[in-house]
């Protein structure tokens, strides 16, 4: 809200300059963001938090300033000198929903000349960002800015039977509001009506029919108090946010209603040469009262960590308009003013004390938590995974979790979580696959000529459920494309293959205690068949990886092969990290034996290794495939078509002794026999 310094000075003395005032306002919670000179005036932009409607006016801010600088706040004294005719003889006011409209005050001003406002008024309104209209409308705005209470002026002659009724709208009733929009009302809307039709949306906006015009001579001024929740509902339902609704929905000051009314009536009479009819009509069926709150000295100390002096507490609260009574040695009985609906608990009073005592004067201490033995295992595991991936050259990404549901559906059958009010179609659902996010990121970089990429994301996927909150699963996604190492003057580039990706996933898995992990060829829709597979653990699939299929790659206009792996992060986080324990390094020589094999292309290497491991050879140190060539890669006739040559290197080593040649020979023969039983031809061995 915009605050004029000159206006403020009408209510309180300011002992400091604007710059200092700005800092001081911030120190009591009035976030003065900036100020600038406006002629002889200075205008502040103050951000008022939603709990402080009382500060949405110059008078309200003046009250805070008076407490801050210990200066007197000017009292509000307006005396309406009415003529003999009674207002109540000219207009009638009736409230049908007193729970939604607790008070309705009205005054009638007769013989008003509607014309432009005088210059001083125009200048003030413009300084605080209000557009001048005519003297009557401007005065209601002026009083709004001054005292914070919204007013409305009706052309009384245009009200049927000169009557005002506050009631719920009848479903389907029509009202053309001042902004020129025809609105269809609902039963939940509270309206001001005459005897026939609605003439205003209560607390939100007036109707065009009863608007003040050049022909208006008798004005009915409204100053009322409407239920905050009702105003908020109507304002939201009609998408109408006004200065009035802004204040009513935050809670206006019910005691300010008659005061603001008088202030406006006097100004209208003055500036419009009108006559105020005698008596205010004040319909206030159940006068409201604030109940007192007990404030304990001990509680101030408990919450603020400071003993605030008795006198200091009393001075602050009284300056802010609270009634304060001391109660023995315990504390006080405090009654908040009507303007402060935000204060209804002891702790709210403590905040008032703290604000004006000064947050900066309160003590400070660092208090750590009690010592704790437990370690955060999940965090430890995540750190381990990301350390491994960074060491392998992967960069972490954090892409948005919101996707286009149609795109998402190309990667998973699992339904995503669709949003009710998305910002756009391509971000209208919470993804149930994290693969498209990875592809988008890869593409973003490829489109910018960054061709060698290894990226990872540790994020979540979401899926809708019949009942309750959606499922959230954690996933690790790897994406890779281009070269593992770029070519340099020293070395040729090394293109990424499925085995790079598979090896990287193996590295990640190897940190975890996952018994019986196997790998099998496997493909799902978005991966290229035969260039994909998955790791299976005791609890099911742990990771699926492969090359993005060509159709999709074309669809995304990817210039090169992209490799993707999806790892079930939840499964890893459930598993234990491998416990490190030292295995003595053998002092004895290792003996290697090479086996040159010819196998059917369909014979999976995994089967061969399994068969060899199945022999349970005690001193078998490692099995490594050294070279594999399929018949297609070899000169015709080298090996039969549909076969592959495979060179296996097997290392034997004992931790306790030097292995004798004949022992190794014996085991080699067993290996050969095991392989032969799988239909493998042995071409050479040594």
């Amino acid at each position: 809200m915009k605050v004029s310094l000159n206006w403020l000075k009408e209510f309180v003395e300011l002992p400091v300059d604007a710059r200092r005032l700005k800092a001081d306002l911030v120190s009591i919670g009035l976030n003065a963001e900036s100020f600038q000179a406006a002629g002889e005036d200075v205008v502040f932009e103050v951000e008022v938090t939603s709990n402080r409607p009382d500060c949405l006016s110059h008078y309200g801010i003046a009250r805070e300033v008076s407490a801050l600088y210990r200066k007197r706040l000017a009292p509000l004294e307006f005396t309406c000198k009415g003529i003999s005719a009674l207002a109540s003889g000219e207009a009638a006011i009736e409230i049908l929903n007193p729970e939604l409209c607790a008070r309705y005050c009205g005054r009638v001003v007769r013989g008003v000349e509607v014309k432009p406002s005088p210059e001083w008024l125009v200048r003030r309104l413009e300084a605080v960002g209000q557009r001048p209209i005519n003297n009557v409308a401007d005065i209601t705005n002026y009083v709004l800015m001054e005292l914070g209470h919204p007013l409305h002026a009706f052309d009384l002659m245009r009200l049927e039977e000169h009557k005002v009724v506050v009631r719920s709208a009848r479903p389907g009733e029509q009202l053309r509001t001042l902004d020129g929009v025809n609105r269809t009302l609902a039963a939940s809307d509270l309206v001001i009506a005459d005897s026939r039709r609605p003439i205003a949306l209560a607390g939100v906006m007036g109707g065009e029919d009863s608007e003040i015009s050049d022909r208006t001579h008798t004005v009915l001024l409204e100053s009322a108090w409407f239920d905050p929740a009702t105003v908020r509902r109507t304002s939201k339902a009609h998408g109408l946010h006004t200065e009035a609704s802004h204040r009513f929905e935050r809670g206006a000051d019910i005691e300010m209603a008659p005061i603001a009314l008088d202030r406006a009536a006097i100004l209208i009479a003055q500036l419009g040469n009108g006559e105020i009819l005698r008596g205010a009509i004040d319909v206030y069926p159940v006068p409201r009262r604030r109940t007192h709150i007990d404030l304990r000295r001990k509680e101030i100390h408990r919450i603020l960590g400071e003993e605030v002096l008795w006198e200091e507490v009393e001075r602050i609260l009284r300056a802010l308009g609270f009634k304060v009574e001391r109660r023995g040695t315990e504390g006080w009985r405090v009654t908040p003013p009507m303007a402060r609906l935000d204060v209804d608990r002891e702790v709210d009073l403590i905040e008032e004390v703290a604000r004006h005592y000064g947050y900066n004067r309160l003590p400070a201490r660092v208090r750590p938590a009690p010592p704790r033995l437990a370690t955060d295992e999940a965090r430890e595991k995540e750190l381990r995974i990301s350390d491994t991936l960074v060491a392998l050259g992967y960069r972490e990404i954090i892409p948005p979790a919101m996707v286009d549901p149609d795109e998402n559906a190309r990667f998973t059958d699992c339904p995503p979580v669709v949003l009710e009010n998305p910002l756009s179609q391509d971000a209208s659902a919470m993804r149930s696959s994290a693969v498209p996010s990875m592809i988008h990121t890869v593409k973003w970089n490829l489109d910018r000529y960054r061709n060698d990429l290894r990226l990872f994301e540790m994020g979540k996927v979401y899926s809708a459920k019949q009942k309750g909150l959606p499922d959230e699963r954690r996933v690790l996604v790897l994406g890779a494309t281009g070269n593992r190492e770029p070519g340099t003057v020293h070395r040729k580039k090394m293109e990424i293959s499925i085995f790079d990706l598979k090896g990287d996933v193996e590295q990640v898995l190897s940190d975890f205690d996952l018994p019986g992990v196997s790998f099998e060829p496997f493909s799902i829709g978005y991966l290229e068949e035969r260039v994909a597979g998955r790791f299976i653990g005791a609890g099911g699939a742990l990771a699926t990886l492969g090359r993005l299929n060509e159709g999709l790659a074309r669809g995304y206009k990817l210039r090169q092969a992209v490799w993707v792996a999806e790892v079930d992060l939840d499964a890893l986080l459930r598993a234990r990290l491998n416990q490190k324990s030292f295995k003595p390094i053998s002092k004895y020589p290792a003996i290697e034996r090479d086996f040159s094999l010819v196998v059917l292309c369909d014979t999976a290497y995994g089967k061969l290794e399994e068969a060899i491991r199945g022999l349970r050879i005690e001193d078998l140190e490692s099995i490594k495939p050294i070279e594999r060539r399929s018949s297609d890669e070899l000169p015709d006739g080298t090996i039969p078509a549909g076969h592959a040559s495979l060179l296996l290197r097997i290392t034997f080593q004992s931790p306790t002794r030097t292995l004798a040649g004949d022992e190794v020979e014996l085991q080699s023969r067993r290996i050969v026999d095991a392989l032969k039983s799988l239909g493998v031809q042995i071409r050479a061995q040594g």
Binding site: A23, S34, G305, R355, P370, R395, E396, H490, T638
Partner: protein, 406 residues
């Protein structure tokens, strides 16, 4: 396919292990081998020499696929024979010469010296020059051996230009948001806090109602919300984890809740639909505003540097009372006032306050016995301040030109 022909082409590093001589012999003593006469000694050493020659010759014939492989193979051969520990020559020294009976010693010594001179033939430098680089054994099979030797390259150590840039292997990196988040976590883990998490798709109850933000209050509008349905939202802050943790653990409670949050904000350089927050919460007996002030000042100094000053000013959040906004003195102008700090000398970094009694009650904690403080901060904003980043969108695009700077 003729077996013998192809057999020779199968690359095998340990050709020697297939020869008549079993290298295992060097593990034994002459006595164990029953070698008693100088003639037998001569034979044995000749056998070793022949083996050495064969291995060397095989390596030269086979060649290597590239320089790397050549260097490796040459080193392997050299190590096998000449390694000070476990090399064949040193094993012969240990097992044959040193263990030899007195009367055989001179003969063994002479033979051993001959062998040692001979073994220099597998000296790495020389061998490197002799072993050709070829495109691989199978390619050679296809081409025949006519052009073997053409690919021989001398090792041009003399011509090496060491001023060429080093060969850098690409490293990975941790996202700056994660880095900042971990840094914040580490500070609070050091204070004994533990880490809690909760769902990102959250019920309206946990996201708003339990945090004292009723639908009917305009404060609800301070959070632009993405809805799944009338009861479910994308959490607009990490604060719901406060309630969940209170329900789960009760008091005392010292926790940090890092995670993603979402807002219905059109993306621009300072707004992102998805962003990260860290929420901190301490609930215990006699926790006061002093703990909030002191702990956050400590945190800000740890994170931004110990010369930073903090300032706490009143604010409003429905879930804290009293509420505050923590500011640090502006690092750009040093507190003089500039555009970044809007001439105030201070930059707001996080919201905080004493936990509202109603919120404690919603978490099942008696506000008369316990009190607490809480704060919430935006991780992207912290990262932007720390690294001087001017556009929040950069965090989620995944541009490696951005990522590689961290």
């Amino acid at each position: 396919m003729s077996g013998s022909e192809t057999e020779n082409r199968i690359p095998s590093r340990k050709a020697g292990t297939r020869s008549g001589m079993s290298i295992d012999k060097v593990q034994k003593t002459l006595k164990d081998l029953r070698v008693k006469t100088p003639e037998e000694i001569g034979e044995l050493f000749a056998e070793v020499s022949a083996l050495l020659d064969r291995e060397r010759q095989t390596l030269i014939e086979r060649g290597a696929a590239d320089e790397d492989e050549r260097a490796r193979k040459v080193k392997e051969l050299r190590d096998r024979w000449l390694a000070r520990k476990g090399g064949v020559v040193s094993l012969i020294d240990e097992n044959w010469l040193k263990q030899a009976q007195k009367e055989l010693k001179p003969a063994v010594g002479r033979a051993f010296n001959d062998l040692r001179r001979h073994a220099v033939a597998v000296d790495a430098e020389r061998l490197l020059e002799d072993v050709p680089v070829r495109r691989g054994a199978w390619a050679r099979a296809a081409e025949g051996t006519a052009h073997a030797g053409e690919a021989r390259l001398p090792v041009a150590a003399r011509h090496l230009d060491v001023t060429l840039p080093g060969h850098r292997r690409p490293l990975g990196s941790i996202h700056p948001v994660t880095q900042v988040m971990r840094e914040i976590e580490d500070i609070f883990l050091g204070l004994g806090f533990s880490i809690e998490s909760g769902p990102e798709i959250e019920s309206v109850y946990y996201n708003f109602d339990a945090l004292n933000i009723p639908e009917s209050h305009p404060a609800r509008d301070d959070w632009d919300t993405l809805y799944v349905n009338s009861e479910t939202v994308l959490r607009t802050h990490t604060s719901p984890v406060q309630i969940r943790a209170m329900e789960k653990h009760g008091a005392p409670l010292y926790i940090l809740c890092p995670g993603k949050a979402y807002r219905h904000d059109n993306p621009d350089s300072t707004h992102a639909t998805m962003f990260h927050q860290v929420e901190g919460l301490a609930v215990d007996k006699d926790i006061s505003f002093a703990d909030l002030k002191g702990t956050l000042d400590y945190f800000a100094k740890k994170f931004f540097g110990d010369t930073i000053k903090t300032n706490l000013s009143p604010s409003f959040f429905p879930f804290t009372e009293p509420s505050g906004e923590l500011a640090i003195n502006c690092v750009f102008c040093g507190g003089e006032g500039c555009r970044v700090c809007k001439e105030s000398g201070w930059v707001e970094v996080m919201g905080c306050g004493m936990v509202h009694p109603e919120v404690l009650r919603h978490g099942g904690i008696d506000p008369e016995r316990y009190s607490g403080w809480a704060f919430g901060l935006g991780v992207e904003r912290f990262a932007m301040m720390k690294y001087d980043i001017n556009d929040i969108q950069l965090f989620h695009q995944g541009d490696v030109r951005f990522l590689e700077q961290f």
